[in-house]
């Protein structure tokens, strides 16, 4: 079943995965989700090799995994940044509260 010649080349999927990996490849993602990003890049590379070998079923699998990894890497990076912003914001609130309490005394 694997590598059956009747499977069409997943050209569109490869393009979508490439775009997803490129979109995820920002500096923040490199910082906050390096493992997932690296995994996405590796799988995309392997998908492209499979395309060359005309193992289109494997190429599709790897491309889909690469896309999922890239999206997760991006999401993790965004979550980490949002959580940092939340901490900063909560810190700012605490500082302001302390300042107001000092003034009130």
């Amino acid at each position: 079943m694997v590598g059956c010649a009747s499977v069409a080349p997943p050209t569109a999927q490869i393009a979508v995965s490439k775009a997803a990996v490129a979109h995820a490849g920002s500096a923040a993602t490199t910082e906050f989700a390096p493992v997932e990003l690296q995994s996405a890049k590796d799988k995309l590379a392997r998908a492209e090799q499979a395309m060359v070998k005309e193992d289109y079923a494997l190429a599709r699998q790897l491309a889909e995994e690469a896309q999922a990894d890239a999206r997760l890497a991006e999401a993790k990076s965004e979550t980490a940044q949002a959580q940092k912003a939340a901490r900063d914001s909560q810190d700012a609130s605490r500082v302001l509260r302390d300042e107001i309490n000092r003034k009130a005394q």
Partner: protein, 327 residues
């Protein structure tokens, strides 16, 4: 949404059951699929993921369905693993999305909290300023009220003082008037007393009595002699000066002679004095006469000097209201 989730859950469970039923010994088992199912179950049980990442969760569910379907149709374990891996990553994506949205909510909540705190702080400052102003205003009003009270008291005290001063002045005036009146009365009384003394008036229980002796009349005569006329003149002047006074002229004789002749003689002598007063412009209405004959003797009729005292005319002066006590 919940119904859909429930349905999906049931569907997944059904697939699991089918997988277990279909799990013959020859069939290879994908551990990745097991992990993906567990992850999906956990994600569905997490209300935050259900609420904040519904699209991502749906997408992950569909990916898991595809993995389950591949497993059911006994596709190659590598294919099932790959599909399960994609499903697992999508479940993780849904969980990350929920965490991100939670963090973003925290950011906006904190910002809102800061705004609220600043607003509260400014409100408190404004309230405090208002309260201070209100307290100051109250103080001012209190002082003004106290001042009003003090002014009212001062005014009342001034009025009281004025009233008391007026009362004192009036009392002084009254005292002075009373003293002046008393002095006047004293002077009047002294003047009247002096005139009464000149008339030889005597105080008796009936009032003041002036006695004219018989030396003023000739024996058995009722005409006044000139000396008697001078005495009557003094009486007339007294009566003119005190017009509220009236007189009762009473005639008496000694016991010599008959009663009837003595009665007539006493009346004639009293009338002679009355006529003399009338001649001197004393009104008739102020003069009355009465004869008593030999009654009411003042001395013994046994000797000459006693009889002389009994032959007399007594003039009763009325009080200030014109009343004369009866004999």
């Amino acid at each position: 949404m919940k119904a859909i989730t429930m349905k999906k859950s049931l569907f997944s469970l059904t697939l699991v059951s089918m997988a277990v039923l279909a799990g013959c010994s020859t069939m290879p088992q994908s551990t990745t699929l097991d992990h993906a199912r567990t992850d999906y179950h956990n994600a569905q049980a997490n209300p935050q993921v259900v609420k904040l990442a519904p699209l991502q969760l749906k997408d992950a569910g569909e990916a898991l369905d595809r993995a389950n379907a591949a497993q059911t149709s006994k596709e190659d374990v590598k294919v099932v693993d790959s599909l399960a891996y994609v499903a697992k990553q999508k479940i993780a994506l849904a969980q990350e999305t929920a965490l991100r949205k939670n963090a973003e909510l925290a950011v906006s909540n904190a910002a809102a909290e800061r705004n609220q705190q600043q607003l509260q702080a400014r409100t408190n400052e404004a309230d405090q300023a208002n309260m201070k102003a209100a307290v100051a205003q109250q103080d001012v009003e209190q002082i003004a009220a106290e001042l009003d009270v003090a002014n009212a008291i001062t005014q009342q005290q001034q009025l009281d003082l004025n009233a008391k001063t007026a009362e004192a002045n009036q009392a002084r005036q009254q005292t002075a008037n009373a003293e002046a009146n008393a002095a006047q009365d004293q002077a009047n009384l002294a003047a009247m007393q002096a005139q009464l003394n000149e008339l030889n008036a005597k105080q008796t229980p009936r009032g003041m009595v002036i006695t004219l002796g018989d030396v003023l009349f000739d024996t058995n005569q009722a005409h006044l002699k000139s000396g008697g006329a001078r005495n009557v003149q003094k009486l007339a002047e007294f009566l003119k000066r005190y017009p509220q006074r009236k007189v009762l002229i009473e005639g008496f004789t000694d016991s010599v002679g008959s009663n009837s002749s003595n009665q007539a003689l006493s009346e004639q002598r009293a009338n002679a004095v009355s006529m003399a007063l009338t001649d001197m412009s004393v009104g008739r209405d102020r003069v009355s006469t009465k004869g008593y004959g030999e009654a009411y003797a003042v001395a013994s009729n046994d000797n000459a000097s006693g009889r002389q005292l009994n032959r007399r005319v007594e003039i009763m002066l009325s009080d200030e209201n014109g009343n004369i006590a009866p004999r």
